[in-house]
Symmetry: C2
Subunit: 260 residues, 2 copies
C-alpha cells in the first residue's frame, strides 16, 4: 500500500509520500513515490504516485523520456499546471491502454493515482489528483488537501486541523501527523517518508526531508502526540448514563430493503 498527501494553502504547497511497496506481505520493498521535476526560477513540479508500480513507473519513465526530446510536449514546455495535468492524463491513458488488457488476463489490478503539485511562473500554486482514467480534480480552498492510496486513517487529523489559511510550516507538521496515524494503523505504509515544503512564488524547493525508519523526529512526534491524545482523552467529559433516553422518533425498524 501507499500513502501520498498534498496540501495547498494560500502560502504554498506541502507534499509527502511514503516508500513502502508490497506484492504480498512476503515481498516488501522501498521505492521512491515522490518525483521532483522542477526548474528553479521557472516552475515547481512535484509528482507522487500510488497504485500499480509498473504502471506508475512507466508514466514517470515516459515523462522523463519526453523531457529529453526537444520536439515533443513535456513537463517543461506546458504553460500552466492545468496543461501539465492534461499532459499527464494523456500519458496515463496511453500507458493504461497498452498495459491494462495484459494485466487483466491475470486479474492484476492496474489502477493508480497521481498527485501533481506545483506552480508555473505567472500563475498560482496548484494541486491536482489524477485518476487512473486520466481525468483529474484540483484542490480548492474549501478542502485544501488531496490524498491517494491508503487515505482514511490519516484523514481525521487533516479534517480537524487544516484550512486554506494554515501556514505551510503547520501544514507540513500536520502531514507528518497524518502519516503517523496511517503508519500506526497500516503496516504496509512505511518509511522512508519524503516531505517537501514549497513557498508560493519562490519557484524553488528550499525545504525537503526524508524521514527514515526510527527517525528521532518521527519517534518524538508519535510519543508526544500519543501523550497529548491521552491527556485530552482523560479530560473529555464522562458520559452521563442516567440521562433520559428514548427510542429515536426518526427511526423505522424492519420495513425496507436498503444497503446498511
Amino acid at each position: 500500500m501507499t500513502y501520498c498527501l498534498g496540501i495547498i494553502s494560500a502560502h504554498g504547497l506541502v507534499m509527502a509520500a511514503d516508500s513502502r511497496t508490497n506484492a504480498g506481505v512476503d515481498y516488501i520493498s522501498a521505492y521512491r513515490k515522490m518525483f521532483d521535476f522542477s526548474v528553479p526560477g521557472d516552475r515547481t513540479i512535484v509528482l507522487c504516485t500510488s497504485g500499480n508500480l509498473s504502471i506508475t513507473q512507466s508514466v514517470i519513465l515516459s515523462v522523463e523520456q519526453d523531457l529529453g526530446s526537444l520536439d515533443v510536449d513535456n513537463l517543461h514546455s506546458h504553460r500552466s499546471m492545468y496543461d501539465i495535468a492534461c499532459y499527464l492524463g494523456q500519458k496515463l491513458r496511453s500507458i493504461q491502454a497498452r498495459e491494462r488488457e495484459w494485466l487483466e488476463k491475470d486479474r492484476i489490478d492496474s489502477s493508480c493515482n497521481i498527485l501533481l503539485g506545483g506552480q508555473v511562473r505567472g500563475q498560482q500554486t496548484e494541486l491536482y489528483m489524477l485518476y487512473r482514467q486520466g481525468n483529474f480534480i484540483k484542490a480548492m480552498p474549501e478542502t485544501p488537501f488531496l490524498q491517494i492510496g491508503e487515505i482514511k486513517y490519516g484523514r481525521p487529523i487533516l479534517d480537524r486541523t487544516l484550512t486554506f489559511k494554515t501556514s505551510i510550516e503547520d501544514a507540513a507538521k500536520c502531514a507528518l501527523l497524518s502519516f503517523d496515524s496511517t503508519m500506526k494503523s497500516n503496516v504496509s505504509v512505511g518509511p522512508p517518508i519524503d516531505l517537501v515544503m514549497y513557498h508560493a512564488d519562490s519557484f524553488e524547493i528550499r525545504h525537503q526531508l526524508t524521514f527514515h525508519q526510527g527517525d528521532p523526529y518521527l519517534l518524538q512526534v508519535r510519543r508526544e502526540w500519543e501523550s497529548f491524545l491521552k491527556t485530552a482523552f482523560d479530560r473529555m467529559p464522562p458520559i452521563d448514563w442516567d440521562r433520559n433516553t428514548d427510542i429515536a422518533p426518526d427511526r423505522t425498524e424492519f420495513s425496507g430493503f436498503l444497503d446498511g
Copy 2:
C-alpha cells in the same frame, strides 16, 4: 454506509452502532443496527450488523423466529458464545445461499458483517466478528476491539487509547470519539448512535443510550476534542528543516514491478 464497534476489556464490553442507511445518496433512512437478545441473569447477547440490509434483516428476523420455536436451537439454547457464533454463521450461510444468486444477477452486493458480543453464565465475556462467509474471529486482549462497516476513520483513536485494561467507562467514551471521527469524515455514517456498556459478570445491561442528531453530549465531545487537538497540534515540535538529510540507503529506484 454503517459503522459498528465492539470493545472488550477485562471489565466488560462496549458496543456501538450508527443508524444511517442509504441506497444511493438520495435515499437515506435511519435503521437500527444494534439488537439486544439478552436474558437478564442468564446471558447477555448484543448483535450489530453492517452491509446489505435485506440480508442482515433476514438474519435478525430468522434469529427472532427461532427464539419463538421450542424445538429448534436458538440464541438462548446454546451453551457458549462460541456456539452462538457458530449458530449465527450457519444462519448467515443459509440466507446468503438463498439470496446471493438473485442479487448478483443485478450486481447488488450481498456482503455483510455481524458483531456478536456478550457473556453466557459460567463463561467469559467475549466479542466476535462474523464474515459474510459465516466464519468468524474473536477479539483477543492484544487488540481488544472489532469494527465493521466504515472502519478506518475511527480507528486511530482506538489504536492510541485502548488496551485490555481500559475501564469500560473509558472504552465507552473512546467509542463515541471513534464515531465522531467517522461521522466527521463520512456523512453516510450518522446518528442516532446506539451505545451499550456491559459490566462483566453482571448478566444485565444497565447502561445503554441513544444519541440523536444534535445531541448535546455529542456536540460537546466534538467541540472539546477539536479544541484539545488544536492545542496539542500547536504544541507539537516544529520540523527542523536544516538537519542533515540523505537519500535512503535502503531504497531502490526503478528496478522492479510491484504494486505500490
